[in-house]
Symmetry: C3
Subunit: 311 residues, 3 copies
C-alpha cells in the first residue's frame, strides 16, 4: 500500500513548528514526489487567531493575526511546480467544538469557502477540499455541518472532491497534552459500526472519501476495524482511504516519527482490506529527509526500501 | 524590535543539556554577534549542587560538585573575544524558594558576589548582574532580597547594572514537569499592576531593568500587559526590557523552538509599547544554527529575514 | 571508569525508534568500538507482539508479528565483524509482570532459549545472556524465575555468562509515561540492602553479574548505594557492574541525552566503589555521533575527552 497523499500541518495543534521558508517547502515537495505522493492537504486554513492566508474576513470577524506569509498561495504554486494536487482544509475557530455552536462555525466557513475559491480557485493545482473538523462518535450532531459545508465546497468549485478524516475512539484516543498513552473505555467494533453508519448515512453525496486515522487502535485490531470501515464506505458510496499516522503514539515524547515496522503493519492492513488510497499525517515532520527529527529521514529510507520490495 | 541579549541556560532546570565544549560556545557567540546580540546573561551560577565555576565557598557550604569546566571564565573570555557583555546570574540553592528561608539565600549570595567579583571582576567583558530568582506576584516578600542583593552587586562592582526577569502569572504559568499547557486562575491586568507597583516601589535603585518573560499570556493579551509594564517601569525609574521566549509553550513537547510567527507577534508588541531592549530565553537551544533542535536553525533564518525587513 | 558495554534498545518501551538499517548499525558498532566498548546487549528479544527475530514459536503462541528484519542475526554478524561480544536478552510477554503468571513466562523463555541457541549459537560473537526482566524490590518473588532461566541459559550454551540489571527504588523511580520527575516514598539504604541480599542469596550461581541502573537515586546518594551494592555482590559471588544511564531523568522531555557532568559523577562513583565493569543504557540514542539527538554526538566528544584525561 503506497502512500500517495500527506497532510501539511499548518496550523498545528500539537506538533512544534519547523520554521521552514519557501526554499524548504519547495525541496520537501520534491522529496514527496520522489516517493509517489500526488496530493498535499493543508490540514486547516486557520485555528482560532492563527491563519494561513491573509483573510480579510477572518481578521475582521475573528480577530485573527495577519500571517507573515500567504501559505495557501505558496503551497498552490509549489504544488503546480511539482505536479501535485492541493486540498484546502477549512477554518476552525476553536469555539465550535468547545461550545457546540455549530451554526457560527458553518457561517464562518461559508465565507471562507467563497473567499478562498475567489482568490485561489484559478490555480490548476487546487484539487479538492478537506473538511477539517476532526470528529469522532461523540460528535454525531456534526453530520449536518459536514453535509452543508461539503456541499458548498462542491457547489462553488464545480464539484471538486471533499473528504473527512475522523478518528476511531480506540484505546489510544487520549489528549496529546496529557502524559497518558491509553485509556480503558475504548469503543467496541459493533458500536463503531453502528455509530458511523448513522453518520455516513447523513452525508448524502456531499463527502467523497473518508480517511480514518489509523493510530488509535492496537495493531492486532487493525484488520477487524479496517474491514468494517471498508464495508461501511462501500455501503454509503464513499471512497475508503487510510490516514496512516507516521508518528508514534506509544512513546512518552509526544510525538516523534514512528518505528517503520508499525507503519508497515498499518499499511499492510489497509492493503488487505482493499482500501482505495493511503495518506499520512504527516510527511514533513515524520518522514522527510530534511525533518528536524532525524529519525524521519531514516523512516524515509526504510519506506523507500519497502516500496522497492513491493515491485 | 531587535533581540540584543540572550540568556545562557547553564545550569538548567528544564532544558536538556547540549554537551557543548569551548569550540561550540565560541562558534555560538559568533552566531549571536552576527544577528546583533551584544549581551549574554548566564542564567544562574549554580542550582542546588551543580555550579558553573569552582567556588570553594559553595563546595564547602552547600555540598556542591566540582564542575568539570570553569564556565564563568570561559564565557568571560569568549565574550571578550567577540565583543559581548557578560552578565553574571546569582546562585540558587533551591532551598530558599521552597522553604522561605530568605536570609540564608541572601547570605549565600553575599559570599558568591564577593568571590566572583574578586576572581573575575578584572574581565572587561564583565558587564552586569542578573538577580536570578524568578519571582512572580506570589513572592512579594522577596522584594527586600532583591534590593539587598542588587545593591551589593552594584557596590562591589562600581555600579555595574542589575536586572530581574519575573513572570506574569498568566494562563500559561504552569510547571514544566506537568503535562498541562494552561490554567484557569490567571492574574488580571489590574491585579498585575497593583502587585508589581508595590514590588517595584521597594527596589529603590538597586535594580536597573525589569525584563518580564513574555510567554505566560496569550498573544492577544500582549498589548495590554506590555503597556502596563512600560508605564510601571517609567514610574519607578526602571528600564523596560522584554524577555522574548524563543521556545514554544503551546506544545506537548516541553520545550522546542517557537514558531517564528509567534516570536514576531511578541517582538512587535514590545516595539509598539516602546520597550528599551529585547533579550531572549534563549539563543543556543532555540535560535542557533548549531542547536540540537534543527527547528532553531530555521528560526535563525526566519529571524534574519525579519531583521532585513525592518531596514 | 570506562564504559565497555551498551544495551541495544530493540524492542523499546519508551525510547522512540531511530529507524536505522544495517548500514547505520554497522557504523554505530564502529563508533562503539572506537571508545572501548566490547559488549553489546540486546535488551529484549521481544515485548508482547513485537519481536527481533522470526521466532516460529512466538508467532504461533503469542500472536507476534513477523519482524521485517532478523535483528539477532544482523547484530551477531556485525558483532563478529567488529570484534564485539553479543548478549541476548530474553523475551518479555508483558503478561508476566502484569498478572504474576510466572510459570507461563518461564515456559515461554525456555522455548526461546532453546530456539535461539539452536539457530544462532554457532556465532562466535554470541557471548552471553541478559535476563531482561527488570525487577526491583517489589518483585522478590521473581528470584526463582531468574534462577531457573539463568541456569537454563548456562546449561544450553556451555556456561556462557548471564546478568541482570535491576533498578534501585529511589526517588526518581517513576513511570516514563507520567509527567512526574520524582516521588516521595523512596527506599532507604538499609531496606535496599536487606531486600537485595535476600534476592541475591536465591540466585545460586545462575547469574554471574548484577548491573544496577544508576539513574533512580540522587547524585549525592551514589556513594552510599554503590558501596552497599559492591558489598552485597562480593558476599554473594556476583560481579558488580554499573548500568550508567546516558539519558537525563531530570528533564520534562522523557528522554534526551544526559548532561556529561552527571554521567561523569556516576562513573566516578562506580570507580570509587571498585565496580568491575560499566555498561550504559544506551549508546545509540544517547551517545552516538549519528544519533537523531544531536546532543548525543557532543556527549560522545565530551566522553572521549574524559577518557583521554584518565590516561
Amino acid at each position: 500500500m503506497k502512500i500517495t497523499g500527506t497532510f501539511i500541518d499548518e496550523i498545528s495543534h500539537d506538533i512544534p513548528h519547523q520554521n521552514w521558508g519557501r526554499e524548504e517547502w519547495d525541496r520537501d515537495f520534491g522529496y514527496m514526489k520522489a516517493v509517489g505522493i500526488d496530493t498535499v492537504i493543508m490540514i486547516r486554513s486557520g485555528y482560532r487567531r492563527f491563519i494561513t492566508y491573509p483573510s480579510a474576513y477572518l481578521q475582521q470577524n475573528f480577530g485573527c493575526y495577519e500571517p507573515p506569509v500567504d501559505l495557501v498561495q505558496m503551497y498552490l504554486e509549489l504544488a503546480e511546480k511539482h505536479g501535485l494536487k492541493f486540498y484546502f482544509g477549512l477554518y476552525d475557530s476553536g469555539h465550535y467544538w468547545d461550545t457546540g455552536n455549530l451554526q457560527s462555525e458553518i457561517d464562518a466557513n461559508r465565507y471562507v469557502i467563497d473567499e478562498v475559491w475567489k482568490q485561489y480557485g484559478h490555480f490548476k493545482s487546487f484539487g479538492g477540499w478537506y473538511l477539517s473538523m476532526e470528529i469522532s462518535r461523540k460528535t454525531k450532531g456534526a453530520t449536518e455541518a459536514f453535509r452543508t459545508l461539503g456541499q458548498q465546497c462542491k457547489d462553488v468549485s464545480g464539484g471538486l472532491p471533499t473528504f473527512i478524516s475522523p478518528w476511531i475512539d480506540g484505546k489510544k484516543a487520549v489528549m496529546a497534552a496529557t502524559s497518558q498513552l491509553s485509556k480503558e473505555d475504548a469503543v467496541s467494533l459493533r458500536q463503531h459500526e453502528e455509530e458511523w453508519s448513522e453518520i455516513f448515512s447523513g452525508l448524502h453525496g456531499s463527502v467523497d472519501a473518508v480517511a480514518f486515522q489509523d493510530g488509535h487502535i492496537d495493531y492486532h485490531e487493525l484488520e477487524d476495524f479496517f474491514a468494517v470501515n471498508k464495508k461501511m464506505a462501500d455501503q454509503f458510496g464513499l471512497q475508503c482511504w487510510t490516514n496512516a499516522e507516521s508518528f508514534d503514539r506509544d512513546m512518552p515524547i509526544k510525538f516523534l516519527p514512528i518505528k517503520f515496522e508499525k507503519l508497515r503493519l498499518k499499511l499492510e492492513a489497509a492493503r488487505k482490506a482493499g482500501y482505495d488510497k493511503a495518506i499520512t499525517f504527516e510527511f514533513s515532520h515524520f518522514m522527510s529527509p530534511q525533518s528536524a527529527y532525524l529519525q524521519a529521514g531514516h523512516l524515509y529510507n526504510r519506506y523507500k526500501e519497502y516500496l522497492q520490495s513491493l515491485r
